[in-house]
Amino acid sequence: MALSGIEIFKLLPKTNCKKCGHPTCLAFAMKLAQRQASIDLCPDVSEDSKRVLGDAAAPPVRPTVFGAGDNAVKMGEETVLFRHEKKFVNPCALAVEVKDTMQDDEISRILDDVLASGIDRVGQRLKIDAIFAGNASNDPASFEGLVKAVVAKAPDLPLVLSTSNPAAAEAALKIAADKKPILYGADDSNAEAMAKLAKTYKVILGVAAKGPEALSVLTEKIKGFGVEDMVIDHGGRTAAEILEGNVLLRRSAIKKNFKPLGYPVITFAQRDDSMLETLIASLGIAKYSSIVVLSSAERWKNIALFALRQNLYTDPQVPMQVEQKIYSVGEPAPESPLIITTNFSLTFFIVSGEIENSRVASRLAIMDCEGMSVLTAWAAGKFTAPKIAQFILESGIADQMKNKELIIPGYVAIISGALEEKLPGWKITIGPREANALPAFLKNWNK
């Protein structure tokens, strides 16, 4: 549980020496409570106090990074149960499973799918993040062969090495330890040997037990062997079990700061029915998984999961914005309409979607209004005649148009006169108030 400013103040020297750059110890304590300063700034604090503060300041779900380089995946650091309270921090990683019992061509096809999974959406590059390599044969040599094949084909992808056989684990780690993989498969029967491997090869250990209680005992045991970075599996496989386990783990971590369960959670979503698998993975994304393991990377499935993950991990306090520019919807011709609105992503999506529905090729001018919707932006002085005029003139769009006409949202009809003054030679047309009236409006436009 995070400490309050007053609780922190009691641990400080109370000398008001200002060496930390704050006027008083109390002011410094308040900054520490808001996580806007580091205790290292105080030269006189006792080691004991530092330890207490360090423990309290650590995020309830341990920050953990797996994979190396540009593709490394950040996990943990979550602080809330509901996204309206505060942003969900590190988007759930999606991993696709290959097994050492699969035929080479099947493995190769799955790796190809994963490597080609990248999609650009609202300014973000979205992709399948990792490969989950499974030792289904339990044979060290087969597993070594699989890991070699994966590393050869996808050298930069983060890896989860899944085996409960320490000999197979070691064979795989000799090949892939430098890629900072997760070694998944520690359980009550092999904990010591697996912990030793994780420590020797400096990798994250994936720990599985049946239910939160047994899991908490096991992570403490493994921590005792000197392993700090773990990913945990409560053993739930059906949707009901996944939900229950994930909720109980996250609540323990957030509400009680219960360290034995304060690790990123791995969830197994594989199903024979790929559409159902998509829904199970959605459950993991929405309800607290840090990694979801899938059986395949079909493109239709990827984009649905990417979109859900992107949506739920946006900051609820900061509206999503799209870039200011003039977008083409369809293939606009010189005589096609020009419509303007603000850069709130929802506004953009809805307006561009309705223009598409109209099947009237158009230009959509999206103006930077700090992510506000039309009325809010107008009220805040961001979506005003002078600013709109400046944007339209500087865009040079007039050169591509046959008739200089600008369609403005019906909600800001009031600015049409001022806009005509600021944009000499332009015709200003008042469009509908709501986007859903755009198809009818556009179909009748200029008729």
Partner: protein
């Protein structure tokens, strides 16, 4: 430090709504967060209604319109198909043909469609206007009368037209959908205004306004979670109404559910993509609290039903 399971019991519960006459359907009634059966009672599974329309849809992508190509010209045939072939547990008739921008059909025509559909189905019916603020009033008055005695759900009543529509629901003994635009306080205010007119608060279904996956579903998700938390944690009677997720309509309107693979190969085949778009949209709003969904594609419905099966396993224990 030993592990103690952090289970939560809530004082409040969601109102239970039953509708229909021959074959009834019931939803709501739980005192736990969505599918949190490990700490509360969830007596009913969420209900999925199949959407049908009064005119042939011209804006449904091929992947979903093709399912209904032999029946969608006739709401009666479409209703029969949904009930008998698709085994719909409920049907939602959207009177989209009444919209001034569509065919501007009259309230009398809408009432006839309702009567004709009711004559051939046993499962309960949801009657939806065209989401025209002005037109929905007269249309739903006529439709509610035509469905009198059949214990339907009608809607959607919004801030600008709720009086007429709520009165129509009261006069004919129907349940009412109250829709506000992605705002907890507006949802609450509308429920209060409607109950002040005399409609029992337990006859209202809240529509916090659905959005499609990729197009603002996070707003629907968080508003729904907040409404549900207010119902359970605070027993707020203006928030305890079950929630509707009008998922199919939104999911099938976006580019991702309709653009052909030939246009955007990286998105994969449009049929599976469209079905996944609807299923994930529905799945997300279910996890946020929806108790009743309106959907379109039978394969999306069956996937979501399987998802609910798994979520409700050991349900209500």
């Amino acid at each position: 430090m030993a592990y103690v399971a952090q289970k939560e019991n809530f004082p409040g519960k969601v109102f239970e709504v039953t509708f229909g006459t021959d074959t009834k359907a019931v939803f709501g009634g739980q005192n736990a967060l969505p599918f949190y059966a490990f700490e509360g009672s969830i007596p009913n599974r969420p209900l999925i209604a199949y959407e049908i329309q009064d005119i042939t849809p011209d804006d449904w992508p091929e992947a979903v319109s093709s399912v209904y190509k032999d029946v969608s010209h006739d709401p009666v045939a479409w209703a029969r198909f949904s009930q008998d072939e698709l085994k719909a547990k409920a049907i939602a008739l959207r009177l989209i043909g009444t919209h001034p921008d569509r065919e501007d059909r009259t309230p009398a025509e809408a009432a006839k469609a309702v009567r004709d559909v009711l004559a051939v189905i046993k499962v309960p019916l949801i009657i939806l206007g065209s989401n025209s603020i002005e037109k929905d009033g007269p249309v739903l008055i006529a439709a509610a009368e035509a469905a009198s005695g059949r214990n339907c759900i009608i809607g959607k009543a919004q801030e600008a037209n709720y009086k007429t529509i709520a009165a129509a629901a009261m006069a004919n003994n129907h349940k009412l959908i109250a829709m506000s635009e992605l705002d907890v306080n507006l949802a609450k205010q509308l429920n209060i205004l409607i109950s002040q007119m005399g409609l029992d608060k337990e006859r209202i279904i809240t529509d916090p306004m659905c959005s499609a996956l990729g197009y603002g579903i996070e707003y629907t998700y968080s508003v729904s979670e907040r409404i549900r938390l207010a119902a359970l944690a605070q027993s707020d009677p203006a928030m305890q109404q079950p929630m509707l997720g009008d998922a199919g309509m939104h999911a099938w309107k976006v580019k991702e559910s309709s653009a052909p693979e030939s246009d955007i190969p990286a998105w994969g085949p449009e049929k599976e993509r469209g079905i996944a778009w609807e299923a994930v949209t529905a799945g997300a709003v279910l996890l946020a609290g929806a108790d009743i969904l309106i959907m379109r594609h039978p394969e999306a419905v069956s996937s979501v039903e399987k998802f609910i099966d798994e979520l409700m396993q050991d349900g209500g224990r």
